[in-house]
């Protein structure tokens, strides 16, 4: 009898504690949201924590649980979370393809997008699910001025023939012309190089190539893509890309350029953050140019998107959207995105802070000039939404780059393979 009484008292006490907790929580009125982030050499935890705090200081009723993707493939991680019914409320720089079509994402309204320069970018079936927050030029070819001078290359190349000539001189001087990488980060470590070639060979001739591919009007096996694939293979065959570098990941690739292991580094403009940072800036001066076309006409591949997305099933959907917009439009967050991640915010009336580093400033000015000249095209392999490849094909594109560089497949084989994978994915 006594034992039963004790058990009953214990149960009553426990449920009273629960009631108190619930009452305490609802009394404070805080809205909890989860936020999936990712970390890179440029974006450490302190960058994210400070950015989140700037928003939660403005909206103290919002409590943010930060999640960190285990590696840079945050899209794959988000898919696993969706499959296990744990999609975070807010996500950053995750490709919306697939998520949007399945109804997992909340669409942004035209009013919510009024502050963005390109409010329709990355739309899926006409609706925008990812804030088109940042523009990235992919690639910019950063070069080591000291190594260029050492090899007798007096000026950055303006045509593709001049690029090959410069590469030959560098190789003759015992300098690796291009620093590239691979491993599991091949999309970011080698993808920009291929995007540069594809920009001049494919998108410069047909800016709607990907939309046409979706309508089956063009194929990877057509001459433009195949010629681009042949150029990448040719760079490797000539020894201008060291195929042994395919084993090094993104961080090691960046470090290889910053420590002078190669003369040129075709990378997204986010590299400017590392180039300007006092912790990582190299002991040589960095120059930059856009990937040159055959005839010297300027072609600048760029992608605008990369912003925050919100789950359609967020428990506190209004709070999630409020947080996402506030995070994206916060001036200090935008300034930090320039300095910490080299991004070009695509926000109306926004100009980068005056204290950005010289590499960033030069890249920003170059992009704006290209934009004014109408030279901007999509960045192949880095598009989003209806502008991008079908779900599952980008990973095949990634693997194909390695096949071209190692010579395992011919350009024609790669193009045929990508068409086959496209058919499987449709």
């Amino acid at each position: 009898m006594r034992k039963l009484l004790s058990l009953g008292v214990a149960l009553v006490v426990l449920s009273a504690c629960q009631v108190n907790d619930t009452a305490g929580g609802s009394g404070q009125g805080s809205k909890e949201i989860s936020f999936l982030t990712f970390e890179t050499p440029n974006l450490g935890p302190e960058v994210w924590d400070a950015a989140i705090k700037r928003v939660t200081d403005k909206y103290p009723d919002i409590k943010v649980n930060k999640l960190v993707a285990p590696d840079q493939d945050r899209t794959a991680y988000a898919k696993q979370l969706l499959a296990s019914d744990q999609l975070p409320d807010v996500l950053v720089a995750v490709s919306p393809a697939g998520f949007a079509e399945s109804g997992a994402l909340a669409a942004w309204t035209p009013d919510e997008l009024k502050d963005f320069r390109y409010p329709h970018n990355g739309a899926i079936n006409g609706k925008v699910y990812q804030l088109p927050a940042n523009t990235q030029t992919i690639p910019v070819v950063y070069y080591n001025k000291k190594l260029f001078a050492q090899a007798g290359v007096t000026a950055p190349p303006k045509t593709y023939a001049e690029l090959l000539d410069a590469s030959a001189k560098l190789k003759a001087a015992g300098i690796t012309p291009f620093v590239v990488g691979g491993g599991k980060t091949i999309h970011d470590a080698l993808g920009p190089t291929f995007a540069g070639i594809l920009g001049t060979e494919v998108y410069a001739k047909n800016p709607d190539w990907m939309a046409d591919r979706r309508k089956d009007k063009v194929k990877f096996a057509d001459k433009d893509f195949t010629r681009a694939a042949a150029k990448l293979a040719d760079l490797s065959a000539k020894g201008y890309l060291d195929k042994n570098m395919l084993s090094q990941d993104y961080a090691a690739t960046q470090n290889a350029f910053l420590t002078g292991k190669g003369a040129m580094y075709a990378m997204g403009n986010w590299f400017a953050a590392a180039a300007d940072s006092p912790k990582t800036k190299p002991d040589f001066e960095i120059g930059q140019f856009f990937w040159p076309s055959d005839d010297g006409k300027q072609v600048v591949p760029a992608f605008t998107g990369g912003g925050l997305l919100v789950s359609a099933h967020a428990k506190n959907l209004d709070a999630a959207k409020k947080f996402a917009l506030a995070y994206q439009l916060d001036k200090q967050n935008l300034d930090t995105s320039c300095t910490a991640d080299g991004l070009i915010p695509a926000i109306k009336d926004y100009t980068p802070p005056s204290d950005v580093g010289p590499v960033y400033k030069e890249g920003y000015d170059m992009f704006r000039a290209a934009e004014d000249a109408g030279a901007v095209v999509p960045a192949f392999g880095f598009e989003a939404g209806d502008d991008g490849m079908l779900v599952g094909v980008p990973e095949k594109w990634d693997a194909s780059m390695a096949d071209l560089v190692t010579g395992r497949k011919s350009p024609q084989d790669v193009a045929g393979f990508l068409d086959t994978e496209w058919e499987k994915a449709s």
Binding site: Q80, S247, A399, A402, R408
Partner: protein, 286 residues
């Protein structure tokens, strides 16, 4: 009956919830075109299995997995036995060496993968040593598509070697000394004693090592994911488990991936059963 229910039920419940139920759900998915991003889900019968047998990606994954399995079954078994024979002595030195060999077994596979990725990089310590020894163009251990799968096999063998050593050491402890002494008195040398006395009595250890290595190698995923992500190039190191996850979570074809997983389960079960049956015939009773 009541005793079974009270003591056996919790374990059975765990087994049903975490093993049997997921397998049955996977079988169910494998009979559909389930893609969470492209509803609706329809019953397609055995179509996924038919597609599987015509899919070069699946056969490539099977080839890669078979290569890795052969390496991981043979190399640690052979080296494990040799090392166990050398360490089958008393003393603090040999005790210490046993611990040293076992350390990789308890390390996280992700940690092991990251360490070896750095070591095997083009400018990693292995190639630096080779260049120091005069090798001008050392191999691309992880960047050469023809070599990468063997490099992963070496890494897996390194990590599991300690397990085989420990099992063989335990087996060696079970060989009666008087049998070995009797053989020695009869004039048998060390090799003959090993062949006729020790080796037959090590059959259980061989069975355990072979079956465990076979199952582990067939399921390999994390090393592939961390070290090469299935590359370099298309599928050069993509094991079946890696391909299942890629098809299921990157391409989102979860019905098809489930079919691949079920086939993988059947292959592992069949291979394990055959190996077990063959090896258990060798086991002798004293």
């Amino acid at each position: 009956m009541w005793a079974f229910l009270i003591f056996g039920a919790p374990g059975l419940l765990v087994y049903v919830c975490f093993v049997l139920a997921p397998i049955l759900v996977s079988v169910g998915y494998s009979l559909t075109n389930y893609n969470p991003f492209r509803p609706p889900t329809r019953f397609v019968g055995l179509r996924n299995y038919q597609l599987l047998f015509d899919d070069p990606e699946f056969w490539n994954a099977l080839r890669v997995t078979t290569t890795l399995t052969l390496i991981v079954v043979i190399v640690p078994n052979v080296l494990g036995l040799l090392i166990a024979l050398l360490l089958d002595r008393r003393g603090w030195f040999y005790n210490g060496l046993r611990s040293v060999f076992f350390v990789p077994v308890v390390l996280s596979s992700v940690v092991v993968s990251i360490i070896w990725t750095r070591m095997m990089a083009d400018d990693g310590v292995i190639n630096q040593v080779l260049r120091g020894l005069g090798v001008a163009d050392p191999p691309g251990w992880l960047s050469d598509p023809d070599l990468a799968v063997y490099s992963i096999g070496v890494i897996l063998s390194w990590q599991t070697l300690g397990f085989c050593v420990v099992v063989y050491l335990a087996g060696l402890q079970g060989v009666p000394r008087d049998l070995l002494e009797a053989a020695a008195i009869d004039g048998a040398g060390p090799v003959l004693r090993f062949r006729k006395v020790t080796w037959p009595l090590l059959a259980p250890a061989l069975t355990i090592n072979t079956v465990v290595q076979l199952i582990s190698a067939f399921k390999v995923f994390d090393h592939v994911q961390v070290i090469t992500n299935g590359g370099p190039g298309e599928g050069t190191t993509a094991s079946i488990a890696f391909t299942v996850l890629r098809v299921g979570f990157t391409a989102n074809r979860q019905g098809y991936a489930s079919a691949m997983a079920i086939v993988m389960l059947l292959v592992i079960a069949l291979a394990s059963a055959l190996v077990l049956k063959f090896l258990q015939r060798r086991e002798v009773d004293l």
